[in-house]
C-alpha cells in the first residue's frame, strides 16, 4: 500500500523533475545561460551536461504516428552514442513523447515505441543497454503548445536525459 506521504519522498520522482527542468531550460536559452555561468563555450566544457544538450543535441523528432528514426535523427543519435561512449559514467533516460493529435492511451504506447527506437539505435552504436532506461510520457509533456503543425512536430520527440555522472 502506498500513501501520498510516501510518494512525496520518492527520490526518483524528484530527481526526474529536476532533470526535466534543466533540460527544458537549457534547450531554450542555452547560449545566454552558458555565457552567464562562465562556461568555456556555448557548448559547455567537454563531458558536461551543457555540451551534451547543446553541441551533441539531446533530442530527435519523428514523423506523424511514426517511430522510424529519420536521417536527421540518426545523425543526432550517432553523436549521442559517440559522446556517451566517451563519457561512460553517465546513465541515461530516453523519454518518448507524442504530439496531441492522438488519443491518450495510444500515444502512451507510441511514445514508448519512440523511446525504444532511439534506445535500440544507441545500443546498436555501442552504448551499453544497461546504461539506458526508457519512459513514455505520451502526449502529457508537450514542449510546444500551439494548436498547429509547428508545435506538434516539436512534440513528437525522444529526449535523452543524462542521469548522474560527473557534470
Amino acid at each position: 500500500m502506498l500513501s501520498i506521504a510516501a510518494i512525496a519522498k520518492n527520490p526518483v520522482g524528484i530527481a526526474l523533475v529536476a532533470a526535466l527542468a534543466l533540460a527544458g531550460c537549457a534547450n531554450k536559452q542555452v547560449p545566454n545561460n552558458a555565457a552567464d555561468i562562465g562556461l568555456g563555450g556555448a557548448g559547455g566544457p567537454p563531458g558536461s551536461q551543457q555540451e551534451f544538450t547543446v553541441s551533441v543535441g539531446d533530442r530527435i523528432f519523428f514523423d506523424l504516428d511514426s517511430s522510424v528514426i529519420r536521417a536527421d535523427a540518426q545523425q543526432v543519435l550517432t553523436r549521442q552514442a559517440q559522446w556517451l561512449n566517451k563519457y561512460t559514467s553517465y546513465s541515461i533516460t530516453v523519454e518518448g513523447h507524442a504530439d496531441e493529435r492522438g488519443t491518450r492511451e495510444y500515444n502512451l504506447a507510441l511514445g514508448a515505441r519512440r523511446a525504444a527506437s532511439a534506445r535500440d539505435f544507441l545500443v546498436a552504436r555501442g552504448v551499453a543497454a544497461n546504461r539506458i532506461r526508457t519512459i513514455s510520457y505520451g502526449k502529457e509533456r508537450p514542449v510546444a503548445t500551439c494548436d498547429d503543425i509547428s508545435c506538434w512536430s516539436q512534440n513528437r520527440r525522444a529526449v535523452t536525459v543524462l542521469n548522474g555522472g560527473s557534470s
Binding site: I4, T103, R104, E105, A112, S117
Partner: protein, 435 residues
C-alpha cells in the same frame, strides 16, 4: 473489504394514506424515437421547515432538465400552491398549464436527527399517483436523495433505468499546458461534491470505476515507471496492480470486478494486452502481435474484449474472445479509430475517430456496422457510458483553448451538455448506479 453502509439509503414504498394505484400511466416518453419532445413536468418545492425541500426539488429539476427528455415548467406559472403533499392535487390546475406530470414532496427531520424525504409523481391527465416513496438518510446525503428521486421519475416515465445517482471520476488539470498538474478527482454526475483523490505530484491518467466495488483503477507515474494502480475510494488505500517490468497502462475492470485488463509495454516498444485476476494475481496474456494493442474494454457479459491495435498499419478497433485468440477487425471507415468502450447494454461500442484533421466521438454496433458520429471537433476523445447506455461523456479541447473540459451527449447526437468542473478536466469515467 468495502463498507458500503455509509452510502446506503433506506427506501420504503409508502402507502402514506393515499391509494397507490397500479394504474397504467397515460403520460410516458418513448425514448427510442429519433426526436423526443421534452415532457412538460411541474416540479413543486417540497414542503419543509427549512429550505431543504426547495433545494432537493431544484436538484431533481436540474437532473430531469439536463436529460433533455423533460421540460420543467416555470414555477411562476403554477396555479395551485401545494400545502399538503399527502392530499391529491387539483389536477385541472396542472393540466391547464400543460403539466403532464407533477412532482410533490415533503422533507422533514426525524426525532433522531436524520433526513426524511418523501415524494409523489402524479399523472395529471389520468388524475392518479404514479409513484409514492419515502427515504431516510443522514442529512449530508440530501443530494443523493434528490438524484434517487430523479431516477425514479425518469424510470417511471421513460421505462429506462436512470443515471442521476452516479458519480464521475476524472483527471483534474491545472497549470500551463507545458507543465500540467493532473489530479484524480471525483464528483457527482451533475458536478456537485467535487473532491480530489491524488495530490498532483505525479501524473495520473485514465481512471475507471469498478463495476462492483467503491474502487477505481488508474495509471500513475508515482513510482517513476508509469504503472496501473488500484484505489479504494473509502479508505484511500492504493496498491500497485501486478509486478511487471515495464509500463502498464489503459486499465479497465471486467464486468464482475474480479479482473483488470490492461496493456503491458514490451521491451521492443510494442504493447500487448494482459488480464490479471485480482484475487489470485495470475496474469493471462491475451494478445501477442508485434503492434500497439491497447484500450481494452470488456463486453458486459464478460465474454469478449474490444481494443485498439495498429497491427494493420494504423489504429483500428478489434474484437476478440475474453480469453484471447484471433481478433476480428470491426472498424473500416475513413480514418483511425481508438478508445473503444463497450456499452453497458451490450449493443454498441463508443469510440474516438480521427479523420480529416478532426476528432469525432461515435458509436457502432459490435460487428462494426451502423457507425454514427455523435460529435466532431478539433480535439475530443475518451467516451464513457452512462450506466443506462443512453448518454456518453467525453472530453474536448477546442483549438486555441487552454485546456479540456467534460461534455455529455445523448446517443441521438442531441442534447450536448457541458459538465461543470473546478478546473480543466479530462478522462471522465462514469460510475455504475450507486447502491
Amino acid at each position: 473489504m468495502i463498507m458500503r453502509a455509509t452510502f446506503l439509503i433506506a427506501t420504503l414504498v409508502a402507502g402514506l394514506g393515499v391509494a397507490v394505484l397500479p394504474a397504467r400511466a397515460v403520460v410516458e416518453i418513448d425514448i427510442n424515437k429519433g426526436v423526443v419532445e421534452p415532457l412538460p413536468i411541474a416540479i413543486t418545492e417540497f414542503i419543509s421547515a427549512d429550505g431543504k425541500g426547495a433545494e432537493i426539488a431544484s436538484v431533481v429539476e436540474a437532473d430531469l432538465r439536463r436529460s433533455g427528455l423533460f421540460a420543467p415548467i416555470e414555477k411562476g406559472a403554477f396555479i395551485e400552491k401545494i400545502s399538503n403533499p399527502d392530499a391529491a392535487p387539483r389536477f385541472q390546475d396542472w393540466t391547464v398549464i400543460n403539466a403532464q406530470a407533477l412532482v410533490t414532496g415533503k422533507v422533514s427531520e426525524t426525532p433522531d436527527g436524520r433526513l426524511r424525504a418523501e415524494f409523489r409523481l402524479w399523472d395529471t391527465y389520468a388524475g392518479q399517483q404514479l409513484i409514492g416513496e419515502q427515504f431516510f438518510t443522514s442529512k449530508d446525503k440530501w443530494r443523493r436523495v434528490a438524484h434517487i428521486i430523479a431516477d425514479a421519475i425518469y424510470q417511471r416515465l421513460t421505462g429506462e433505468t436512470g443515471y442521476f445517482d452516479t458519480r464521475i471520476v476524472y483527471v483534474d488539470e491545472s497549470g500551463p499546458r507545458n507543465n500540467r498538474v493532473k489530479r484524480l478527482a471525483i464528483m457527482d454526475q451533475d458536478g456537485a461534491n467535487q473532491r480530489f483523490l491524488t495530490d498532483g505530484r505525479a501524473i495520473v491518467l485514465t481512471p475507471r470505476f469498478s463495476p462492483t466495488r467503491q474502487e477505481i483503477t488508474y495509471m500513475s507515474y508515482e513510482g517513476g515507471q508509469p504503472q496501473v494502480y488500484l484505489l479504494q475510494l473509502e479508505t484511500g488505500q492504493r496498491e500497485l496492480v501486478g509486478n511487471f517490468p515495464g509500463m502498464t497502462f489503459a486499465p479497465r475492470f471486467s464486468p464482475n470486478g474480479q479482473q483488470i485488463v490492461m496493456s503491458l509495454l514490451r521491451d521492443d516498444g510494442n504493447s500487448n494486452i494482459f488480464a490479471m485476476d485480482l484475487r489470485s494475481r495470475n496474469t493471462t496474456r491475451l494478445t501477442t502481435s508485434n503492434a500497439i494493442d491497447t484500450s481494452p474494454s470488456y463486453s458486459p457479459d464478460g465474454s469478449q474484449i474490444v481494443f485498439t491495435s495498429d497491427r494493420g498499419g494504423r489504429a483500428q478497433i478489434y474484437v476478440m474472445s475474453a480469453s484471447g485468440g484471433d481478433p476480428k477487425r470491426i472498424s473500416f471507415g475513413d480514418g483511425t479509430y481508438s478508445t473503444p468502450v463497450w456499452s453497458p447494454r451490450g449493443d454498441l461500442i463508443a469510440f474516438t475517430k480521427q479523420t480529416r484533421g478532426e476528432f469525432q466521438i461515435g458509436v457502432m454496433r459490435t460487428d462494426g456496422s451502423g457507425e454514427r458520429i455523435l460529435s466532431s471537433g478539433f480535439l475530443q476523445e475518451g467516451p464513457t457510458w452512462a450506466p443506462n447506455g443512453r448518454v456518453v461523456m467525453f472530453f474536448r479541447q477546442p483549438a486555441g483553448s487552454a485546456g479540456p473540459q467534460l461534455y455529455s451527449i445523448d446517443l441521438t447526437g442531441r442534447n450536448e451538455q457541458k459538465i461543470p468542473t473546478a478546473n480543466y478536466g479530462s478522462d471522465p469515467a462514469w460510475s455504475p448506479l450507486l447502491e
